[in-house]
């Protein structure tokens, strides 16, 4: 069955420092992968998605993610974190690939705290 693992429950990063949030997936075919961010009291906002092609994907707010098939990973990165990046981050995989109407399977999330 498809699954997503986010090994880090909580990460604290200093403002201006670089960030990497880990995500490992389990999926039999070509995965369709996503990163979402959830700020307190808010819904989920899509940061970026990967379907095919270039394994380095650019997203909004200066985030990027790299798909590594050999490691079954899709780690999220940002070169310089801002205090406003403090939020919950969720990695997700489409349960039925690119099939129309597919559901997303989410990881447990990583809480990012930013220290000054």
């Amino acid at each position: 069955a498809q699954s997503v693992t986010q090994p880090d429950i909580h990460i604290t990063v200093s403002e201006g420092a670089s960030l990497e949030l880990r995500c490992n997936y389990s999926y039999g075919a070509t995965p369709y992968l996503f990163w979402y961010v959830q700020s307190p009291g808010q819904g989920l906002q899509l940061l970026l998605k990967y379907f095919s092609g270039d394994t380095l994907v650019q997203g909004i707010k200066g985030f990027e993610a790299e798909f590594k098939r050999s490691q079954s990973s899709f780690n999220l990165r940002k070169p310089s974190v801002h205090w406003s990046d403090a939020a919950e981050y969720f990695c997700a995989v489409a349960s039925r690939g690119n099939q129309a109407g597919t559901a997303l399977i989410f990881g447990k999330g990583t809480t990012l705290s930013v220290s000054s």
Binding site: Y32, F34, Y36, G41, Q42, G43, L44, Q45, L46, K49, F51, F90, A92, A94, S95, R96, N98, Q99, A100, G101, T102, A103, L104, I105, F106, G107, K108, G109
Partner: protein
């Protein structure tokens, strides 16, 4: 940017009562979803809905749950007899087609508290 609207934002109910959570998906979307997030836990898929029927559901979505699209705009989740463990944030989402073509839009959620 278009939005998925959920009402109410907070709902408190007594155990055993029925609740209906309401969502207005984006108008030209075809696929509708309910997810839930228990406090401190991951976002869990409940059900997807297409062409006026359930297309996929998780183990969580048992006989106590039902979904309906009563008119051309609303999408509802009904919990027939709420339990304490149903307390969670419930998110509605909609998608136009496939994830490569469009993204999944989420509403801001309804916080359900069962007492």
């Amino acid at each position: 940017e278009p939005e998925v609207t959920q009402t109410p934002s907070h709902q408190v109910t007594q155990m055993g009562q029925e609740v209906i959570l309401r969502c207005v998906p984006i108008s030209n979307h075809l696929y509708f979803y309910w997810y839930r997030q228990i406090l401190g836990q991951k976002v869990e898929f409940l059900v997807s809905f297409y062409n006026n029927e359930i297309s996929e559901k998780s183990e969580i979505f048992d006989d106590q749950f039902s979904v309906e699209r009563p008119d051309g705009s609303n999408f509802t989740l009904k919990i027939r007899s709420t339990k304490l463990e149903d307390s969670a944030m419930y998110f509605c989402a909609s998608m136009g087609s496939s994830p490569s073509g469009e993204k999944l839009f989420f509403g801001s959620g309804t916080q359900l508290s069962v007492l």
